[in-house]
């Protein structure tokens, strides 16, 4: 499956995580019932081009609850890292470690394994 390159940005003061597929494109927004926003391409309303989570650190513990994030087959390569082929849930776990916990080892291969194991349990 093709991976999309993903830019990840965290705005700490607003506790908001921004995920944008690259190249960036204008979008309209939908949301899950739990406040996880999904960006759809402006001209192609079926194509997902990003995500946004307001209150990211407050709600990350709900990540495994049904309906919080959409179930997608998409895979992502995170810009500026060696992380490739991650599922959305893996990206979110990584972002939490990297940006909220400020765990600078989050980009090491071991972190990739940890993220995968956490997702499987």
């Amino acid at each position: 499956m093709e991976s999309k390159k993903l830019k990840v940005t965290y705005h700490r003061a607003r506790d908001t995580l921004y995920l944008r597929t690259l190249p960036k494109r204008p979008a309209t927004m939908d949301v899950t019932d739990y406040g996880f926003y999904i960006r759809y391409d402006w001209d192609n309303p079926d194509e997902i081009v990003g995500f946004e989570w307001l209150g990211f650190s407050a709600y990350i513990n709900t990540l495994d609850e049904p309906g919080v994030i959409p179930e997608l087959e998409m895979r992502f390569d995170i810009e500026g890292t060696n992380l490739k082929g991650l599922a959305l849930k893996e990206v979110l776990r990584w972002a939490y470690h990297r940006y909220v916990l400020c765990d600078l080892t989050a980009e090491l291969p071991e972190m990739r394994e940890m993220v995968t194991e956490a997702a499987e349990t």
Partner: protein, 135 residues
């Protein structure tokens, strides 16, 4: 009901407009104060379709079609301003636009603003109607 015709702004105009039209507060259609600060600009500035709609944010707060309680489980104190805005006289269809705020201790804080996907509007309509424009 009057059509809300509000032109887009350029990206270069956006920050100045944000400061002049939105900060530090906007008094909404109900006479309530919505607090907006410079940090909120960071939320808008990276997305072309948002940064071009600074005027739409103000218009939607002061002249919405309706205000609803947020339908989101994660935002029990959220309120959503819903509008349809036309870019110019020749724009016959208009576009829906949404501004989300949060009520904290009786004060409203800006949370987000965007052009909604059609699915979003269906969900937002599940939220309790708080205010509606007279037709």
């Amino acid at each position: 009901m009057n059509r809300r015709i509000i032109s887009l702004n350029t990206s270069d105009e956006a920050f100045d407009l944000f400061q002049r039209l939105l900060t530090p507060v906007v008094v909404d259609v109900r006479g309530e104060t919505v607090r907006i600060d410079i940090g909120d600009y960071v939320h808008l500035m990276d997305d072309e379709e948002r940064v071009q709609r600074i005027r739409w944010i103000r218009e939607t707060l002061v002249n919405p079609l309706e205000i609803r309680r947020s339908h989101l489980k994660s935002e029990p104190f959220g309120e959503v301003y819903i509008n349809t805005i036309y870019e110019d006289e020749g724009d016959l269809q208009g576009r829906p636009f949404v501004v989300g705020v949060e009520r904290r201790a009786g004060v409203l804080d800006f949370r987000t603003a965007f052009v909604p996907h059609p699915q979003y509007l269906q969900k937002a309509k599940k939220g309790k109607l708080i205010w509606k424009a007279k037709s």
